[in-house]
Amino acid sequence: MTLLRGRGYASVNYPTGMNLGGDPSQALIHATTMGGFVVSLSSVDLGQGLKTVVAQCAAETLGMPMENVIIDTADTDTGPHCMGTFASRGTHRVGNAVIMAAREAREVMLDVAAEELEVDAGDLETDGTGYVRLKGSPETKIHISEVALAAHFKQGKSISGRGIYLKERNYPVPETGEMDPDSCQAHACTVAEVEVDDETGVVTVLSLHNTYEIGRALNPGMVAQQIEGGAWMGVSHAIFESTEPYYPASRDHGPVDFSEYLMPGPAEIPVQTSVILERPASNGPFGAKGIGEMTANAPIPAIANAIFDACGVRLTTMPFTPESVLRGIDARRDDALSA
């Protein structure tokens, strides 16, 4: 038995958002009586952390602490329209819409504060801890709770804002075929190291080294998790899962229920590193691009290339099962013998 080592890499460009018939998302922000800021969306957080990133965008733009921001993903029947969270569009579209709404709300907030402090709104700033204060004279300040109370019960003003981001529909130029279907592109490269057991065809993914260029990492911890969690999914597709179009019905020997559906467990995970590069997108929220879907992509061909490097077997159909590797090794041995 020999354990053959191999290394391979693959890179990917991935678009942020889609063309559709135009791709919009809306956001509405209003302050509560006590200085909380409710961001109303129809965008769904399915566990990917959109609510966190969007709260960061709102807090940053308003100049208020994260704790003051309440994300309400409401009801798609009644909330402001969002196309949905797919196509890696969430951070980009919804983030931009929230920033636009937060800008308008901030203007009203500063106007109310200016009237309370009897100064010019243009001379005010926020300190990020919840206070609006006079530039150069930080002792002249007012807490957002006081601002909100004044707006509601003295001045009769609604501290609120409206935002929308639309990627307009784009048509190809008939003569050249060029078009602008997505807002920006993120990039990634993964280097995979594998070990192949030449007697059983079993492939072990030893390590994955990832580099991602994503415009701006609004939340670096979440970006790293998306990279490495997504890479696990890539390993799962590459080595274990049967993701064929007719799954799960009508298969001769595929999994028919969950308990037979193979995915790598904690003992199968590779060592991973990830490096984040930032080349801000001019149309992204604080320059951010999307990273939601692309993270399973590069690891898969990287693993295929690593398998080829290890044992000379070129596989083009997933999953790269021990059987497909072993048949490839057998064929190469037979070819070598008959040559």
Binding site: L46, Q225, G229, W232, F258, S259
Partner: protein, 159 residues
């Protein structure tokens, strides 16, 4: 239909169980403890993991009628007021959760592991959570958090 008595997180509870009422459904629907999740109903995903007489089990496979009188521990019973358990705090500090669906089951498996083995190796942690499927994190932050929790528990025991 029968009445089943359980001690859940230290509190005596009684509820009506149909023949098809599993321990999981009893906890979620009768007792409002929704930490344990309905995942696969086949015992394969582990999101329903709770402790039965101190041992982790997949509660979706346990007919409630068969465990009358048992001692059940769920994730809701771990914190002491505002103070999270070592495992919970380590998960929080180590960013060991994304969508959160596997998390209660993972935490219960981890608590049981550390109750039995205060100084587990990485491989022993892998084995202990091999019945809990996670689709989001790729497991590494979870394994690290459990090893971190083990260290916190050992430090706490020294004081």
């Amino acid at each position: 239909m029968r009445i089943v008595n359980l001690k859940v997180n230290g509190v005596g509870q009684a509820f009506l169980a149909r023949p098809e009422t599993t321990l999981l459904l009893a906890l979620r629907e009768q007792l409002g403890l929704t930490g344990a999740k309905r995942g696969c109903a086949q015992g394969a995903c582990g999101s329903c993991t709770v402790l039965l007489d101190g041992e982790p089990v997949v509660s979706c496979l346990v007919p409630a009628a068969t465990v009358d009188g048992a001692d059940i521990a769920t994730v809701e019973g771990l914190a002491d007021g505002e103070k999270l358990s070592d495992v919970q705090q380590a998960f929080l500090d180590g960013f060991a959760t994304q969508c959160g669906f596997c998390t209660p089951g993972m935490i219960m498996s981890a608590e049981a592991l550390l109750d039995r083995n205060p100084n587990p190796t990485r491989d022993e942690v892998n084995e202990a959570i091999s019945g809990n499927v996670c689709r989001c994190t790729g497991y590494e932050p979870i394994v690290s958090a459990i090893l971190d929790a083990a260290e916190r528990r050992r430090e706490g025991a020294k004081l």
